[in-house]
Subunit: 211 residues, 2 copies
């Protein structure tokens, strides 16, 4: 018994997505047989155009509809702060929380030697040049006062944060005027202390605040 | 911050698939931005054509490339047995196990009053007429000797099995000549008795065999 070609190639397409195994791919493909053709046409069109109708913002490297993107071109935002994230979805998470009003920089990954991703494979150089270009007289000037590094708290994310911080300090002409910060670490809201790992508890102690 | 239209509509498409929540839909859609356009074109084409390039076999209602399907038109298969399954994927599972060599009948669902799915919404009438038509003189004749009902062991699947069995007996002219069987129930291979539920253990006891 062979699964019809049209179905088996759809299964293959689904299987190459992250987190979709062979069984899920099969289930999704057979599910599509029960959906109306208009849904299929629409889905098909969306996938075909997802890259064509989006552009990478030349300033912050976020995925948007225009270049520069809606955040970079928004004069209401605080252009003295840049928050550095790994992925566009991290930016979406910050925007959803609504507190941060500065600019962003999307690296599109983190330094990961095991996957052969070095500093040149992600948008680190663009971040540096974005800071130096903001003041043609050398140094970072007044425009950018702070860079918040918000890479993930994984080994790779930490290494990337260290690397960026070192590079920024190296490029900076006037010592210490640029504030480089890392996201606060500790207990997340709603967590149960009983199940927190040692590392997180230690970081929560290090980051304790006076009440 | 708005997610670009092209991405948000892809997220919506993914979200309507079963088992794909908003977060997974987001992750999959943003992942597509990193894939080559050839993959996107191919994926898009597969989805658009999945229904167009498959047909429902008029005999067994399986999804195939031709009508009758490759199983129904295979003269090497035992045409005296019909195995009744809920979904095409159940048929694929039986074909994968390789033991069964008879024909199939795909119901495309099971009787589920809560979802408003009655006997007329699935291919039960087609199964009955398939059996009666095989002998124009009334009764089931010699062609079909056994119907194995392999609906899922859920409440709905059991109800469907009971209903089909009753209908088949009603249609049958000569009592008891048609063998109607249900898949064996019990402990699945590799299971841990400690964690088996009461129902399964009772059914395993009922279905015990001499060694």
């Amino acid at each position: 018994m062979k699964i019809p070609k049209a179905i088996s190639s759809t299964i293959e397409s689904f299987e190459s997505l992250p987190g979709i195994g062979p069984k899920t791919a099969q289930r999704l493909s057979f599910y599509l047989l029960h959906t109306p053709q208009t849904y299929l046409d629409n889905f098909s069109e969306n996938i075909r155009n997802i890259k064509k109708s989006t552009v990478l913002c030349s300033v912050c490297k976020n995925v948007g509809e225009s270049d520069p993107c809606s955040i970079c071109s928004d004069s209401g935002r605080d252009s003295s702060v840049i928050l550095v994230v790994e992925q566009p979805l991290d930016l979406v998470a910050f925007e959803r929380s609504g507190r941060y009003k500065g600019l962003y920089h999307v690296l599109h990954g983190c330094i990961n030697p095991l996957d052969n991703i070095g500093p040149d494979e992600i948008y680190i150089a663009d971040l540096i040049s974005r800071l130096t270009e903001s003041n043609p007289h050398g140094g970072y000037g007044s425009q950018i006062a702070e860079v918040i590094i918000a890479t993930n708290p994984t080994m790779e994310g930490e290494a990337t944060a260290m690397y960026i911080s070192k590079e920024l300090r190296k490029t900076e002409k006037r010592d210490g005027l640029l504030k480089i910060t890392r996201l606060g670490m500790g207990i997340p809201t709603g967590a149960d202390l009983e199940y927190a790992d040692e590392q997180t508890l230690n970081q929560a102690l290090d980051g304790r605040r006076p009440l």
